[in-house]
């Protein structure tokens, strides 16, 4: 009898233990899958490139620690160096820019800047307003921004308004990029760089990327002072998107001293002159909405840019042009917009001070490549950083 009672007492316990163990196993499995998938999505299989590193780098910056944020497309991270601007003028800045970043993305970017920083000035390079309609609906141009933006209302609005394919893939990029294991070599090295940035808490080069080439124009180079009155209408989609963005800025209470629209320097040739004309049109539209616009395509005699030496193609400057322009532009912002050097904590100062030797080594490395005639994409990736650190350690 006693034994039977004991057995009866044990039975429910055993059953309960079995259920408990099963629940523990299932939850552990789901957790393991969730964590692995998250890791893969964030670092390994995220189609990472310099855009990823740059935008994620922006979110690694301490809150309210940036004095200037520059929004735009490739011109921004090729032509401007935040490290050099810091060295020259003492203010902190960061390029929130991606390759072929279109005007459709601007609002979400500004909202993200507002959410995380309180800059003295936001600069917008207007290249995203002169793209053709095809560029505005290109999925990749949206994804370079949205994939690297944390999930919040700004990202949701950006995706809901502009997504051209399955929206779920914008919120769970793993669905789209899981197959990038077939480019394992690239994914692996980028993931290493992203993890290093994450662990360190900042990136060294503040998102710059360039090419070790000197561009020699093959077509006729225009003197922009001769054609600066010429204009061309924007493409329809860009026109609508850009005007909507300007209305948003007005509606959000941004004033002329908080936002500056610029056109960074280009080599204006017969091949891209229409872009120059559209840039002039953008200037008019910007002024129409009460904001300032400066075209460094038209007004660049003081910079000392040499179109036969300082570009790596007609749209982007090389390291020589980058240094000249950054120094000029940083001083311009300091003088005209009264950007004051940042009040940084000891730790923040230490971090920003570190960028200077890295940038110097970056320039040295790029210069060596140019002299050797090696055309390399020079950005903050594993290979390049290893070379840069070798130069620093010499």
């Amino acid at each position: 009898m006693k034994e039977n009672k004991k057995k009866n007492k044990r039975k429910p316990n055993t059953k309960a233990r079995t259920y408990r163990n099963r629940v523990i196993k299932i939850v552990s499995l789901l957790l393991a899958i969730g964590v692995t998938t998250w890791f893969l999505q964030e670092y390994m299989l995220c189609n990472a490139d310099h855009n990823t590193e740059r935008i994620r780098g922006f979110y690694l910056e301490d809150e309210n620690s940036l004095d200037v944020v520059i929004v735009g497309s490739s011109e921004v991270y090729c032509d401007y160096s935040a490290a050099l601007a810091y060295e020259e003028c003492g203010f902190t800045s960061y390029p929130y820019s991606t390759e072929s970043n279109t005007a459709l993305n601007y609002k979400a970017i500004i909202e993200e800047i507002k959410r995380t920083q309180n800059p003295q000035l936001i600069v917008i390079e207007i290249n995203g307003a002169i793209y053709g309609d095809a560029n505005l609906v290109k999925d990749v141009n949206l994804r370079r921004v949205s994939d690297n933006m944390p999930l919040n209302e700004n990202k949701i609005e950006l995706v809901e308004k502009n997504a051209t394919s399955d929206k779920i893939e914008y919120y769970v990029p793993f669905l789209k990029y899981h197959s990038s294991w077939d480019n394992l070599n690239n994914s692996f090295w980028w993931s290493l760089e992203l993890i290093k940035d994450q662990v360190r808490g900042y990136n060294y080069l503040k998102g710059i990327k360039n090419r070790s080439v000197i561009y020699h124009p093959k077509s006729k180079v225009y003197r922009t002072d001769e054609i600066q009155s010429r204009k061309m209408a924007l493409f329809n989609k860009a026109d609508v998107a850009f005007r909507e963005f300007l209305e948003y800025l007005q509606g959000s209470g941004f004033t002329d001293d908080q936002i500056l629209f610029v056109r960074f320097p280009h080599v204006v040739t017969t091949d891209n002159v229409s872009r120059y004309y559209r840039g002039n049109t953008v200037g008019d539209i910007v002024r129409e909405y009460g904001f300032s616009y400066i075209s460094f395509d038209s007004d660049n005699p003081d910079i000392g840019i040499d179109t036969s030496h300082d570009f790596y193609n007609q749209e982007h400057m090389n390291i020589y042009g980058q240094q000249k322009f950054t120094k000029y532009f940083a001083k311009y912002l300091q003088e005209v917009y009264k950007i004051k050097p940042a009040k940084l904590t000891e730790k923040q100062k230490e971090v920003w001070d570190k960028t200077i030797p890295y940038y110097d080594a970056y320039i040295k490395y790029s210069d060596q490549l140019i002299n050797k005639g090696e055309d390399v994409q020079v950005g903050e990736n594993y290979d390049i950083m290893r070379q840069i650190e070798q130069i620093m350690n010499k």
Binding site: R22, L29, I33, T37, L40, E169, S179, W181, L184
Partner: protein, 513 residues
């Protein structure tokens, strides 16, 4: 699943309605336009079976009542009449339902000149075969007619098997569907593993291979013999992974609900001859044709009479004649079965050729068996030796590959062109260049090669331990190993699976048939 397992205890006898509802939700979700077809098949099958059942019962009653009055001859004549009547009733449903199937498959070619689109009704072949199999069983009086329309509707539409089978047999499937099943953790894990395995085969292997195959078939004439040979080899792997993967998923889902669907593949590429291959490949279709076409043909008076005539002839008294008289009915019936299988695949001469080729090989193998046996004896080759077994497996696989050429090539003429190029246009360098442009980079190719090796190893283990499954073997391993395998399986599907925009993981090769 939750609704099924949490169904109130007091209404257990209606638990099957959850499966019926799920099946129709699944079917409607796939396309509202399809539902009319499946409802028609269900209704016509239901009414036809009841009609036959009524005739059977009334004839039995009649014979019982008039037992004393009727002579043996009268009874025989009466039974013949009843049989003829039942045959007509059966034929009515067969003609109607196979007529719809044939119309949808062939109308495009016969009436639209090969252009235009006809509705591709989801799973129509599979549910038509399944329903007609049931009707034939009712006709044969081996199963009773189902008197509940909704129960029959569930048998016809059971969602895990509707897309591509396996084709169920009423006597083994129906009762399982109607019996209420409680949640069983072991069944659940077993089913879950089967689903995982199927998803891996389908999404992480077959769909990668499909990218290259599709690239070739879209510009078929642009490729040389090496690429075409590679494509046929890849197709053999892709088709097996796609179809068997889909079946594993179906079986796994059904298993979770406590229902055992029949096995549809038993490592077909290990077959030692073509007949064995067809007993291991698409087993449920093979069974269907065997039960409902092969046996009726082979045992028919016409076939038996031919056999008898040969036996009685002068030729029949020779050894060869005696052998041919013995095997002719079955070998000719096999030929017709494969001819029908070919036609079933679609309205294209290449499918006819596919059927004739397979049927022809089986027919010749049976008819010439004494010749082959004699040759082996003369060459002192032991049929059961390992080298000869390996030779037979490779030979059979190559014969299967020849059949696949008809599948891969868009038309019969292009299939003939493929044979010519495979034998006359082998250039590894050109082929390598072409293959590297098929949308799969080197790493993906390496991955597929690794998958071939992996599947081969798994298949060898399965073949050697055919009395148990890998899942059963796994269940005896420590928890960490079992759950580790599940974790790796899920991650492998998530990472290596082909899904996302532009891909539909629910596209199975055999769903189109």
């Amino acid at each position: 699943m939750l609704v099924y397992f949490l169904f109130p205890k007091k209404w257990q006898q209606y638990k099957w309605t959850v499966l019926l509802a799920a099946s129709y939700v699944f079917y409607l979700w796939a396309g509202v336009q399809y539902v009319g077809f499946i409802l028609f098949t269900t209704l016509s099958t239901f009414l036809d079976a009841l009609w036959m059942d009524k005739v059977t019962r009334s004839s039995k009653d009649y014979l019982r009542v008039h037992k004393a009055e009727l002579s043996r001859e009268d009874k025989k004549k009466y039974k013949e009449r009843v049989k003829r009547k039942k045959k007509l009733i059966l034929a009515l449903a067969l003609v109607l339902n196979f007529g719809i199937l044939a119309f949808l498959k062939y109308a495009k070619v016969l009436f639209l000149g090969g252009t235009g689109d006809l509705l591709l009704v989801l799973g129509i072949s599979f549910y038509t075969f399944q329903s007609m199999g049931y009707l034939i069983d009712v006709y044969r009086d081996t199963v009773p007619a189902q008197r509940n329309f909704f129960k029959l509707a569930l048998f016809v539409s059971f969602f895990p098997q509707i897309v591509q089978g396996p084709i169920g047999i009423y006597s083994s499937l129906a009762e399982q569907l109607y019996t209420p099943h409680d949640f069983d953790y072991d069944r659940f894990t077993d089913g879950f593993l089967l689903i995982l395995w199927g998803l891996f085969k389908k999404m992480a292997i077959a769909d990668h291979a499909y990218i290259a195959i599709n690239a070739v078939t879209e510009h078929y004439q642009a490729y040389g013999g090496t690429t075409l040979l590679f494509t046929v080899l890849l197709y053999a792997f892709q088709l097996y992974m796609d179809f068997s993967g889909g079946i594993d998923i179906s079986r796994g889902v059904a298993r979770i609900f406590g229902i055992d669907l029949m096995e549809n593949f038993r490592r077909p590429y290990f077959s030692k001859d073509i007949s064995e291959y067809w007993r291991r490949w698409h087993i449920s279709l093979g069974n269907w044709f065997k039960n409902y076409l092969f046996y009726p043909l082979a045992m028919s008076d016409a076939f038996l009479n031919v056999s008898k005539k040969i036996k009685k002839s002068k030729f029949g008294s020779t050894a060869a004649g005696s052998h041919i008289a013995k095997v002719l009915p079955t070998s000719f019936a096999s030929f017709i079965v494969f001819f029908m299988v070919g036609i079933w695949h679609g309205a294209n001469w290449k499918y006819v050729a596919f059927g004739v080729y397979n049927g022809g090989i089986i027919m010749l193998a049976v008819l010439l068996k004494p010749v082959f046996d004699g040759t082996l004896k003369r060459l002192h080759i032991n049929r059961d030796s390992a080298p000869y077994t390996v030779f037979r497996i490779i030979r059979t696989f190559m014969l299967v590959l020849v059949g696949y050429v008809f599948d891969v090539a868009p038309t019969f003429n292009e299939a003939m062109m493929t044979f010519r190029l495979i034998f006359t246009d082998q250039n590894f360098k050109v082929g390598y260049g072409e293959i590297s442009e098929l949308g799969l980079n080197e790493l993906t190719m390496l991955y597929l090669a690794a998958c071939v090796v992996f599947i081969f190893i798994i298949s060898v283990i399965q073949e050697r331990h055919s009395d148990t499954t890998i899942r059963a073997m796994l269940s005896k391993k420590p928890t960490i190993v079992r759950w580790g395998v599940v974790y790796i399986g899920i991650m492998a599907i998530l990472v290596f699976g082909v899904y996302g925009s532009g891909f539909n993981a629910a596209d199975f090769v055999y769903a189109q048939f």
